[in-house]
């Protein structure tokens, strides 16, 4: 079912660092992943996971270090160019186009790879984009809600639309930032099924706060803490890793943050 991951690297970072004033949010991260992989990034709140995404997607510019996508350097490229090269992302806090329909939301993303946006052709004539949008609606399961105004969707559906918009750009690498945040248990399970299906076609990095969600899913898990990768490996190995347990089970005796998250490791 799942194709073998290739040896080619899809994403690599070298000493990636982001400082906000005195605070180091991402600290000399060397990250690398192969094409076709489904990678999970976990770690407590404030570990630098979202900042890491922001650096890769061009939403923030790194203070130091370099980012390579499919062997080409993309450090300091603006977000729109990175997107057109094939990296798409979703946001932890839902970021959709609220007052247009679900269909138009995905459409907006699906047309960006066209270099020239012809002002004199009616959008509905563009059959190739129409097909893509229909396909994505199917994948995220919003087909029967395509005519609805996005802001009228339920929270769960808005989270799915968020993914749909990202897929619209036809990415090679998809960055999912806590896609199931605020979803019910059932919705979470369904969404994870969809992510699993997607991972057959593209490389995915999924940031999760809750480790159990990604345990069965991911090929490899990277654990972030204080802006660094403290452990990396297959899920079973990560579960047993002492440093990870320290972070999650509150091994650091004075750290309330660690204890707070201990319930997340099952």
């Amino acid at each position: 079912m799942k194709p073998l991951t290739t040896d080619r690297s899809v994403l690599e970072t070298e000493g990636l660092t982001k400082r906000f004033g005195g605070l180091i949010a991402v600290d000399r991260v060397n990250f690398s992943m192969r094409e076709g992989e489904l990678r999970a990034i976990i770690g407590p709140n404030g570990a630098g996971k979202t900042t890491f995404f922001n650096l890769i997607s061009g939403c923030l510019s790194p203070s130091e270090g370099r980012v390579f996508f499919k062997g080409e350097e993309i450090t300091h490229l603006p977000a729109d160019q990175i997107s057109r090269r094939g990296i798409a992302r979703t946001f932890q806090i839902t970021s959709i186009f609220p007052n247009i329909t679900v269909y138009e939301n995905i459409w907006a993303a699906a047309q960006t790879k066209k270099g020239f946006l012809n002002p004199l052709v009616h959008s509905s004539r563009l059959m190739d984009i129409r097909k893509r949008v229909e396909g994505i609606l199917e994948i995220v399961g919003l087909h029967d809600k395509s005519g609805e105004i996005a802001s009228n969707l339920s929270h769960g559906d808005q989270r799915l639309l968020e993914i749909g918009i990202a897929l619209g750009t036809d990415p090679h690498l998809l960055l999912l930032d806590e896609p199931t945040a605020g979803m019910s248990v059932k919705e979470t399970r369904e969404t994870m099924e969809r992510v699993k299906e997607l991972s057959c076609k593209l490389s995915i990095i999924i940031v999760e706060h809750d480790m159990s969600v990604v345990m069965e899913l991911a090929d490899t898990i990277s654990v972030f803490d204080f802006g660094r990768i403290i452990a990396e490996g297959p899920p079973e190995e990560i579960k047993r890793d002492e440093r990870v347990q320290e972070v999650y089970l509150g091994g650091r005796s004075n750290d309330s943050e660690g204890r707070r998250h201990s319930h997340l490791l099952r």
Binding site: E104, A108, P119, G147
Partner: protein, 330 residues
Amino acid sequence: MASLAGKPEDRMKLWKGERLFQIGFAVLVAVLVLAPPFLRSYHKRLLTEILIWGLFALAFDIIYGYTGMLSFGQALFFGVGAYGMAIPILRWDLNLWVALLFAVIASIAFAWPIGYFAVKVSGAYFVIITIIFSLIFFFIALDWRWLTGGDNGLTLTAPSIPLGNWKLSLVDPLTNYYFVLALVLACYLITRRIVASPLGKAFQAIRENEDRARVIGYKVERFKLISYIISGAISGLSGALYAATSRYANVDFLHWTVSGDAVVWTLVGGAGTLIGPMIGSGLLIVFEDYVSSWFKNYPIIVGILVIGVVITAPQGIVGLLRERFGRKER
């Protein structure tokens, strides 16, 4: 996207709304084409003026209603268009078509560099920077009396339209009216196509969520600039038509408070609907014409109306109709 809506009942509603819109639009155009010969010349002129200001409001709708940039500076391009029409006719004795072309090119020549800088800032700063640019050129125009006539403006004789061997004089209000109607209608149809095109979809994505638009691959500043230039060109055209019709151009046209009129008309009619701003300007200009004969401080009522619309129905008249009849974005 009418054919693509999800549930069948939604599709029905959408289809019905679409049909209603098309019927309404056909009736409106028929009235605009057929009625004027039977109107008094005062009303012909009033209708002409409504079309021109409606076009100005339409230009504003592209930048605000579709791209989400609240500009209080579009009057600058209206003024440039008006002078772009008046100066070639008055000083260089050029014919109307050339002057019209010159006016539009002149407003693009202003909108491009100004827009280049203006789109670098957003939100409150954008509003202010558009006012500032508008004022700079207002003061320059005020100062350069040799070019603009300063406070007194420029007055021209009625230009005529050369059509092959023919010459139609704009002295006749009816000729003037049809001349304006043809151009305004053409502009409306073109912009309607633009907002339904991929480019228009990009504008709307930026309006809805600028940051997200960037992350899915839009070079936001470029599209904002394109929107700004399109809006500027159409504003310029409306200014040129105004100068040809009223036969004068004045520095006051450039003032940012003139842009305020377009903001008001667009909001009342329904931002982001194209037809709404035109309907809004029609209603308010007729209202002004009617009320100002016995209450010359009618802007008080306009002010109250604006505040009322902003608080209770920011989607405007056409927006409300759409909600009622279910016609979504085209």
